[in-house]
Symmetry: C2
Subunit: 240 residues, 2 copies
C-alpha cells in the first residue's frame, strides 16, 4: 500500500455509530415494526434517543474503573433493561430482549457510506475503530454489506474511546505510523483525541444523527480535522 496521497496516509479507521451507520433511524424503524407486532404504544424516537443517551455515561463507568471491562453488547443490554421499565414494556422473554438488544448489530449505513467505502478500498486499508465489540461490528458489516478490510473494536484493546489505548492500539495492529492512519468521525471529541495521539483526521458531519430537530446543533467543522467532507463519496474524492 503506497502512501502516494497528499495526506501521506495508508489506512483509514472509521468511527461507526453515527459516522457510518444511522443508528437512530434504524432503531426507530425496527422498533415501530416490532411495536406493531407486539401491539405496543411507544415513542420509538424517544426510546432510541434515551438508549443512546445512556451510552457515554455507561462507557465512562468502564473508562474510570467503576465497572470492569464490559463489552458494548452488555452495556447496551444494561441500558435496555432500564428502558423497558421506563417505557413500560413488560413481559419480554430473554430471547426477545436479546434479539432487540442486537438491533445495534442491524443498523443501516448512511446512503453514501457503502459507495464511498468501495471507492476508497482499492487504495487504503479500511478498518472500523469503534467502541462496538468485534462481534457486533462483524454482524453489522454482514447485515449492511460494509466492505471492511479489518474490524477493530473496543474489546481488542479492552478500552473505550477516547482512551489513548484505542487509537495507538489501532496504529500498532495496522503496522503504520500514527500519521499514516486517518480517523474518520462525525464527532469532534473523537477527532481531537486521535489528533492528540498523532493520527490524521477527517470530519464527516452527520447533521441528521440525532434527528432533524437537532440538525442545526451538529458540528460542521472541527479544528482537529485535517480534512472535512460532506459524505464518504466526497471524502474518497478528496483523498484521491
Amino acid at each position: 500500500m503506497p502512501s502516494s496521497n497528499r495526506f501521506g496516509i495508508k489506512a483509514l479507521a472509521f468511527d461507526v455509530f453515527g459516522t457510518v451507520v444511522d443508528w437512530r433511524s434504524s432503531i426507530i424503524c425496527e422498533g415501530a415494526q416490532w411495536g406493531r407486532a407486539k401491539n405496543l404504544s411507544v415513542d420509538w424516537a424517544a426510546f432510541a434517543d434515551r438508549w443512546r443517551a445512556g451510552y457515554m455515561p455507561t462507557l465512562n463507568k468502564v473508562r474510570t474503573g467503576a465497572l470492569p471491562w464490559t463489552k458494548l453488547d452488555a452495556l447496551h443490554r444494561s441500558i435496555l433493561d432500564e428502558l423497558l421499565v421506563e417505557f413500560k414494556i413488560p413481559g419480554l422473554t430473554e430471547t426477545e430482549k436479546d434479539h432487540w438488544n442486537r438491533v445495534w448489530h442491524r443498523l443501516a449505513p448512511w446512503p453514501d457510506a457503502v459507495e464511498g467505502l468501495e471507492r476508497m478500498r482499492p487504495k487504503y486499508v479500511l478498518a472500523t475503530l469503534s467502541n462496538g465489540n468485534l462481534s457486533l461490528l462483524t454482524n453489522m458489516a454482514k447485515f449492511s454489506r460494509l466492505p471492511w478490510d479489518a474490524i477493530l473494536g473496543g474489546d481488542l484493546f479492552r478500552h473505550y474511546k477516547p482512551d489513548r489505548e484505542v487509537y495507538l492500539g489501532a496504529v500498532d495492529l495496522l503496522s503504520v505510523r500514527p500519521e499514516e492512519l486517518m480517523l474518520v468521525a462525525a464527532h469532534p471529541y473523537d477527532l481531537e483525541a486521535a489528533k492528540s495521539h498523532g493520527l490524521s483526521t477527517a470530519l464527516v458531519p452527520r447533521p441528521m444523527e440525532y434527528g432533524p430537530e437537532k440538525a442545526a446543533a451538529a458540528p460542521t467543522s472541527c479544528a482537529a480535522a485535517d480534512v472535512t467532507a460532506k459524505d464518504f463519496v466526497e471524502l474518497a474524492e478528496k483523498l484521491g
Copy 2:
C-alpha cells in the same frame, strides 16, 4: 446467525498459512521472478522450505518466553536475515529486504479457497485464526481477495497457536460458545489444540503444502477433526 446446521456452529476460524494459501508456490514464484531481475542463482524451493522451517522454532522462542512478544512480520525478517547469508544474497537495500519479507503478505490462495469461502459466507461468520499479525493478514486478504468477515491474528492475543489464549480469545471476540466456533486447518497439531479447548474442528488436508515430494507424508485424517473435506468447496457442501 442461527445455528441450524448439524454441527451447531455459527462461525468458522481458518488457519491461513498452508490451509488457505499456498505459501511455498507463492514464494518460489516471486523468488524466481525477483532472482531473474537481480541475476541471482538461488534454489527458491529450498529457500522457501528453509524460511518456513524457521517458523516453528522461532515462534516457540516467543511461546516459551525466550523472546518477548514479537509480530510474525518481525520473526519472518529475523529468519530472512539468516537466509540471505546462508543463500549468499548480499547487498540488498533495507527497502528490498522489507519488500521481500512482505512476500508473506502476497501469498496466493489454493484454487478452491475463495470459491469455498464465498459459499460459506452467507451462513457463517468467517474469520482468520492465524499466527500472522493482523496487518499481514489484512494485506494478504486485499491482495488475494479473501472474503473474511473478521481478521484475527496472533497480535490480538499476544500469543501464538497452539497457546490456549488464541483459541479462547477467538471464542470471546466472536461472542460464541467454544463448540459454536469451528477451526478449519490442514495441520493436526492445530486441530488437536482447538479440540482440547472445546472448539469444533475441520481438517482440510493440503498434501501439496510442502511440495510434491512430500505429498505422501501429509496427513489425510485426524482423530481431533469433527469433519474432513478435501477442499473448501467440499467443506461448504458438508456444512450445508
